[in-house]
Symmetry: D2
Amino acid sequence: MVIQDALITAAPKPGADQDSATPKNETNFERNDLLARYETVRQFSEALCETLVSEDYVIQTMPEMSPTKWHLAHTSWFFETFVLKPHLPGYKPLHPAYAFLFNSYYNAAGKMHARPQRGLISRPTVSETFAYRKHVDALVLQLLEAAGPKELERLAPLLTLGLNHEQQHQELMQTDIKHVFWMNPLRPVFREQNGVQHSDAGPVEWRHYPESVYYIGHHGKGFCFDNETPRHGVLLQKFSLASRLVTNREYLGFIEDDGYNRPEFWLSLGWNTVKERGWDAPLYWEKRHGEWWSMTLGGLREIVMDEPVCHVSYFEADAFARWANARLPQEAEWETASFSVPVEGHFAEAGRFHPMPLRRIGSSERLSQMFGDVWQWTQSSYSPYPGYRTAAGALGEYNGKFMCNQYVLRGASCATPRSHARRTYRNFFPPDARWQFTGIRLARNPE
Amino acid sequence: MVIQDALITAAPKPGADQDSATPKNETNFERNDLLARYETVRQFSEALCETLVSEDYVIQTMPEMSPTKWHLAHTSWFFETFVLKPHLPGYKPLHPAYAFLFNSYYNAAGKMHARPQRGLISRPTVSETFAYRKHVDALVLQLLEAAGPKELERLAPLLTLGLNHEQQHQELMQTDIKHVFWMNPLRPVFREQNGVQHSDAGPVEWRHYPESVYYIGHHGKGFCFDNETPRHGVLLQKFSLASRLVTNREYLGFIEDDGYNRPEFWLSLGWNTVKERGWDAPLYWEKRHGEWWSMTLGGLREIVMDEPVCHVSYFEADAFARWANARLPQEAEWETASFSVPVEGHFAEAGRFHPMPLRRIGSSERLSQMFGDVWQWTQSSYSPYPGYRTAAGALGEYNGKFMCNQYVLRGASCATPRSHARRTYRNFFPPDARWQFTGIRLARNPE
Amino acid sequence: MVIQDALITAAPKPGADQDSATPKNETNFERNDLLARYETVRQFSEALCETLVSEDYVIQTMPEMSPTKWHLAHTSWFFETFVLKPHLPGYKPLHPAYAFLFNSYYNAAGKMHARPQRGLISRPTVSETFAYRKHVDALVLQLLEAAGPKELERLAPLLTLGLNHEQQHQELMQTDIKHVFWMNPLRPVFREQNGVQHSDAGPVEWRHYPESVYYIGHHGKGFCFDNETPRHGVLLQKFSLASRLVTNREYLGFIEDDGYNRPEFWLSLGWNTVKERGWDAPLYWEKRHGEWWSMTLGGLREIVMDEPVCHVSYFEADAFARWANARLPQEAEWETASFSVPVEGHFAEAGRFHPMPLRRIGSSERLSQMFGDVWQWTQSSYSPYPGYRTAAGALGEYNGKFMCNQYVLRGASCATPRSHARRTYRNFFPPDARWQFTGIRLARNPE
Amino acid sequence: MVIQDALITAAPKPGADQDSATPKNETNFERNDLLARYETVRQFSEALCETLVSEDYVIQTMPEMSPTKWHLAHTSWFFETFVLKPHLPGYKPLHPAYAFLFNSYYNAAGKMHARPQRGLISRPTVSETFAYRKHVDALVLQLLEAAGPKELERLAPLLTLGLNHEQQHQELMQTDIKHVFWMNPLRPVFREQNGVQHSDAGPVEWRHYPESVYYIGHHGKGFCFDNETPRHGVLLQKFSLASRLVTNREYLGFIEDDGYNRPEFWLSLGWNTVKERGWDAPLYWEKRHGEWWSMTLGGLREIVMDEPVCHVSYFEADAFARWANARLPQEAEWETASFSVPVEGHFAEAGRFHPMPLRRIGSSERLSQMFGDVWQWTQSSYSPYPGYRTAAGALGEYNGKFMCNQYVLRGASCATPRSHARRTYRNFFPPDARWQFTGIRLARNPE
């Protein structure tokens, strides 16, 4: 999601599937759980910054990304605006201008600072921004601790939404600072890494799925964004899905077969984009003395052939698939297939900040790398599920209004917090975006 | 279709469903039919120009549209390139530069003149362009008359494709010259009209359709473009469709309710577009002394309230639908519902060059205005049907490569030739395009 | 002058230096002279068009140039606005929209059509435009013939201004249509030429001028534009001027010495321009099979080495001069030196539409090629002479408001009508303009 | 000077007008003087930063300005490149990338980082930048202390140039950070001020100067930039100069007379600029509740009527002058008149960072406010003096290559260090620049 943030679905209203008189113990259990999650998530945002110096927090290197400082403030503004203002009696904002400066795109919440100007703002400083976080945290925790059962019922979904929102920004913080460091000829390192892992990804195998009506979309009590609902049936033709992600080695085959110069593989818009911007490899790749290197959050290093290819746009994923005599999966195909594997993989908590080569453990018939490492482009345009409804008010702007000219990505990446990954999760970006950890899984129509 | 032209499907290969030894009579019947259609279609392009002066043919007023002269030449280039060059032994192009000047976007057919520069070319002149048409026509007819049965089998689908391609450009010729005349403060008239028709469109009624698996896509022997195939099943939830198109009166209600200034109705991209371009009404509308007027191909005249609203973008159609507590139909819904009515309506041959108000004939339970008057935006992103394959070679560039960031329109318009309209027809434009005859039919999810 | 047109100086008010009671014979003499000049000048504009077809008149290939049709109409609008409207009682404009469409930049004369949109207007047609000229001509001549002595005194300077204005546009008509034909891959020919002239330009000699106070600017009764006044003294250091223009051969030496890639020769703005636009030779030059060719109004042909170099910008002229260990002349130096030679040279009436090589006639101590062939860039920024005043009203917008970020050119070109050339004439263009017939004469500071 | 930095003239070569055998005492005197000036100037750059936090140093709010961090580093790079590298045997740069990052525009000194990307670089950090300064300072001082007489002769002009260069950047540091703070809705304060000064500027009087040949340009032993040479004679017509600067009160008269909406006052380029950018007052002015306020380095405050108007472009200065029935002075007029007053005024060392109202002390016949407060636009295009020559090598790029499409400003401003002001000083900026402390002094042609 480029600028987008997240809306809680109608599903997890606790009162809907419980007794309205929540017993006290259960209330305390939920309260403690919320408190713990709040502290964990909020703390993780700050932990991500541990190697940054003040100057790093300020920079905006392209309109699509935001300064680290802005992410830290905006996620706090979210709690201030949707939790503190409506629920803490007599609450006064810490600073009258923050509502303007840190509103991302919620028209219903008032006017906002222009997105491309986020890097022109040296104040509030980094330490003032951390103070803003502390201020919000103290009051949220106070509110949460004092809440009675009914209030807790009202607060819980908002806090849950706020935390999921913050997790989205945690991923953006990583991809955005990567762009900042890449723009700097000094090539700073975000987090030192001890060597790279090598592994043989092995050949792709194809998993087959029969024609049928399948059901997709979220159900059950857990949290989801509104765009994952309502659950509904889709009729899928039979299809095949690749057992693993496309590797750098395979993608290099496309490059060396002159893929970036052969219009027959490309969508018309993609071809124009490639030629106008002079693309000839994924973002962050550069050739040095005849070898491909790439900028990572661990610094500049040589391409590792068995790593999943990363930082490709939809256009490149689609062109690669055509070159490989395959196609991108539909999101419904991906979601359907995903039920055969657990939601496991290489996530942000691993602290590597880069996708890793597949470790093959025996001969598995299962799909690999479905979660973590890189988001997987689907061929599905981001559109509402049948019967989809947005919430009323500002939070209704979370997802629905972005359903145009964007494509759905599934899975999760090495920058996604583990608890944020979900089978039904619908990430989305415009087809030319490639500064996220985005890669490719192929699909085919069986003969 | 902005720049796009058309690819014949695999379906109408005559040899596939007939004896390979076509009897002579049948051959002659097909030949005569082709000859007649060729002359009719080619002549209609020229008839559309009957009021134009030489200067009108040259102008390009925005990159998306093309000069009339270019349309006349490009459609001839299509026959020259795909019929004469491969099938007329020893054929030499009339002019070596035409292949460069009049190739629209077929990379496989060679280099091409930049699209936005089509209006910078005074030569070949209009009369040289008509001479080019005559040259191509004479040789195509000669080729056709001399063709034996097997050759006819090879030629027929190419000619059919060429004629359908030309019909697409006939529609563009009308919409493009409308833009040219609108840009001119003198407001020239394309075709004089005797008065306007008034009629009471009556209230909208809703037609209901149950949840089911429906089959969409082309089948049978008739011509279709490749993007209408393969035929396949889709599972649709129950839905309702409005009995008629949205009228100017209804759209004015949206304008007067401040619709263009209320972000809650708009997609995010749509809102940005509206604000950046200062839109406050459909294209070609202007306020004069407090009344809305609009530029038509019959000149500037007051808005007729019961006419279908026209020249709205996808963004405006979508926002209007949200304001009206409805939504745009999916293309599968539209196609499914279309089978209840014949392919009849107000097409280009009527010579009015503008949508007309609905004439209600008794109380009908049927859908009205499904074909003709205005193309109807659907909420469906233009994407390949499951199992879709493009043809090999240049003609494979006809449709597939445009399947990105465009939305499907269904029906046909007052600028579409009658024989070009089809239930399965998939027209497509980017969501900000509004110089076509594009309008709105609403859909709803029944309670 | 890019968009600029011309203002008569206070000088030629006949009443100022004559008896106010002009004798009748003198009146008739002046009237007849005016009639003859009016017809000659107006006719020459039309004669320039004799090879054009209607489509050629419409095209605008860059914002700086105008369609032929527009030039023909605008020069008529000038007479309509500044002669007919104020001086012909009861005059009504031929068409109410022409004042809007054909006003170039006179804010005081009302609103105007946007300059970059002049090529988007197919109507009025070419024949309507010629009819507009006829209409204006008939009434101007009628007014002129009926004018009494006092009225003639008022009309004469306006008509003289109008005719000089039209002569400026005659030059633009040639340079603008050249750009149109160059943009067309068919490379049309404006006027066929019988072969090219060759001649040996011989070595450059230097003419020397001592330090002194010199007087520049217009004086006497003849016509001039206001920017040539007032006449005034300037103190010049001693200087040397090259005896002839820089040739293609010499300029090629600069190219082959890698001049376009060596920043030390260039102004900073020039260097940026060269790199951004990819310049590596004068406008209209192109390399074919290792040889330099150039587009001329007689078609594409090989470079003639002894012709004056043409279609260079101020930036290129200045860089060439630095490479040649010289500099561009100041306009006062040029004007001072020009008094040693008659106002003779190769002008538009010669019908060659391209500069010609110098013909050396014996050993001359004189300056050659001071007038005609190509305009000569000076190092002088276009600024007001001390004491300069603009006229009141719309005609005051003729010159003064363009005195910023433009550079003065002196002499005249092969596209200038002979009677339009003058020693004190100040032509001016922005430093990146090069579609005019602009060349180089070098100057030096003597040791 | 936007991006420009400065070249020492040939004048101050000590060896040229002194005995080549400089006595030892004199050497030590010069050495000590240089040491003192070096420390003073370098220290003042750092003193300007005393209220800044790290985040402030990083921001670039428009391509024309640079981050504070960049100024601090670039001025050190200047000493490193032109003093240490060629004169300190075995010198190795502190960091290999700094030559690329901190070269402003010296093509001869190698490739450079793109100017508009200076704000995208968080590293080197602020403290690393200060360390870079310390590193350079230590070695420069060491070199200076060890230099023998001949070496001192070589070093002195380079060090003098470097210090003057740094003083130019001191002024830019103030104007650039002002722009940064203005872009921030929080409106930070650069330096607190105790109240504003009020004073009655009194009526303008006119000082008259006769027609004559005057001599302008630098002479004597003191430092100057190469663009101030050679000294030469100019013939000036008689002229009058206003006794003081234009005040805010007077400029407000222009605004209230609808000056920004009346094209008759404006240069054509100026009028386009005003309309495209929506200018209706000087930069930093804003209307709050009907009153004009302006952003200053002391924060946002109400306009003080008797202060000199500031932050106007050449276009505005020129239009104001025309409205006031006057004109801007020529630079030669200004320089000539300046000799009647001492080089005194309100400079950077005053620590007010904003122009101050004129304090009238008795009835003076002298010109006031010739130096300090605001730079004064002249009507003179920035061009070379007759006989001007640039130095060889990279330092030749200091001034000459910017002599195009810029206008000369004279005097100095409240942001100029006192020792940097000079009668012959030629500051220059493009005509649309207005983020410098730029104001207006009027001139007139006496009747």
